[in-house]
Symmetry: C2
Subunit: 332 residues, 2 copies
């Protein structure tokens, strides 16, 4: 381990991602409670989530000989699609190990990108094992969903763009959904290097708050798969932050707050109607915090808040239900 | 009349709009039929539609003494909200004349921006008369929805951004929804000045195809209010293109094609699920053409197509219905 990911590694990732990842704009979010909130809509990446950045950077950074054999990833969905998509862009074979409760919209996307789909039980352990078996048998390089320097560096390009685009005034805080911790780790590296006044705050579902517990206790705590399966935020169902991401979170993150299931679903609705952005529940976690927590509750003051909308691969029936809750059939 | 709007007028508008309008990115749209399609999502403007550009530019360009008295606009909705919002930003009083069949989501937004709402019958004539009466009685400056140089120049900044952002290869064509013609006129000015190889193609609902009829016949044809009221694309229910926009369309636009109601609604669904963008039916007209017409049918070849998504202020119940068409209650 060579310490935390550096801003130079994030800058190298930005060069690899030029022309591949969409440079997402900052979008005003007038519905939010604190005075000024800007959304960074990573849902607008071609795969519908930020994961494309880390996955592409990790595959592009592989030595040629490794890349030629192929790549394998395990994922609750968005990372799997990102690896499949990035591998296709780079002409690399890919196998994706997914939990058997992953939403169909996500597994369909993985298959449509041309990757091989491997289904396992919905635990982190089963996914790690499945991925390792394929790596050993075929010599494929593993592209982990979060606990990998190049993955963290790729996600960090979001922080780089926020730092460059937020104008003369640094944001008071950047709010980021937390699952395995790769997204918030990368963003925190860039923000702390370039806009050190800005606080980086993680947001987790109350029903999958292992990262907050780890952050508060100072040790990496694991929740059970059954615990985290309770949240509708399928993208945030990882049981434990990573060995590499945890020190980033401890050192660079100011706080981790939680939101309820109802708050995430309300944020999905408000994002669709007030920012015209489609979000999945986990992708809307940070937006939910901006809607339902005051600046005081978040421990921030002054300047704008930046909210990362991390993904938009939502089940269409769920999205329809939050949009038209008064429709009779939806109350059945 | 001083001829067509010039690229210098568009550049002046871009300077006024800096920091006010979101610089919307070009988003890949993998679902589209022609090989490569990029979406310009103007639905991400703070008002949910491109209209903010023209409205703000027109108000900001008024002489101080005029602006101080106030502004009045007539609009099928999105322009009204844009004038209300832009006036609030500039500290100017605003009265907005709307047809009494405008969707509630749009009239609510106008009121929330602090403007006065004036309801009239759903015809262009009634809206023009209502607006003129307020202008005469109070000395308010009229901000027309499309037939005004500064409005056209403001919408033209979309074309300027497309020309700057599309990289080394000019798009083969830019597809633009057409109603009164302000959007396509402004975009065509910028594209023809900066990327003259690119064709500018208008897209209209089959049920409100007055602009295509005008374009083909060479004279400005008016459809009836009852005719155009048939389309679900409420943003495109204008009966006739403008006196000023028509010469722009005749001189700078390559063709105008039509799409059906079903195609626009299917495009709303596909934009939500494949590009994670919320569109209103009229806003999705050009995207519908990219989904349901081949490059040959559009008369284009080579390079990417750019599709303008002009607005996202959709009725939540309509959006829910297109997202979950199989839900029993929606078939009633």
């Amino acid at each position: 381990m060579a310490g935390l990911v550096s801003i130079d590694e994030v800058r190298a990732a930005a060069r690899r991602l030029h022309g591949v990842a969409v440079r997402t704009p900052l979008i005003p979010f007038p519905a939010a409670r604190p005075a000024e909130v800007l959304i960074k809509p990573e849902s607008l990446q071609p795969t519908g989530a930020f994961k494309l950045r880390g996955a592409y950077n990790a595959i592009a950074a592989l030595p040629d000989a490794d890349r030629r054999r192929g790549v394998v990833a395990h994922s609750s969905g968005n990372h799997g699609y990102a690896v499949a998509y990035a591998a296709a862009l780079l002409g690399v074979k890919a196998a994706i190990v997914v939990p058997d409760n992953a939403p169909k919209v996500k597994t369909d996307a993985i298959e449509s990108a041309g990757a091989e789909l491997v289904r396992v039980r919905p635990t982190l352990a089963a996914r790690i094992e499945g991925s390792l078996n394929i790596a050993r048998a075929r010599g494929y390089a593993q592209i982990p969903p979060f606990d990998h320097r190049q993955v963290i560096a790729g996600q960090g390009t979001i922080g780089l763009e926020i730092a460059e685009d937020c104008g003369p005034h640094a944001p008071a805080a950047v709010l980021v959904p937390v699952s395995g911790g790769g997204l918030i780790s990368g963003i925190a590296v860039a923000i702390k290097a370039l806009r050190p006044q800005a606080k980086v705050i993680g947001v987790e579902p109350e029903l999958a708050a292992d990262a907050r517990e780890s952050f508060r206790s100072g040790t990496r705590v694991a929740w059970t798969a059954a615990d985290v399966a309770r949240t509708a935020a399928d993208a945030l169902r990882v049981e434990q932050v990573g060995e590499l991401t945890f020190p980033h979170i401890r050192e660079l993150v100011h706080d981790i707050v939680t939101v309820t299931e109802e708050e995430m679903l309300a944020a999905v609705r408000t994002l669709a109607l007030r920012a015209r952005l489609v979000a999945e529940p986990g992708g809307a976690a940070a937006a939910a915090a901006s809607l339902f927590r005051s600046a005081g509750e978040l421990g921030v003051q002054g300047g704008p808040l930046v909210v990362v909308l991390s993904g938009g691969n939502v089940d269409p029936v769920l999205l329809a239900r939050v949009l038209a809750p008064d429709t009779e059939s939806y109350n059945r």
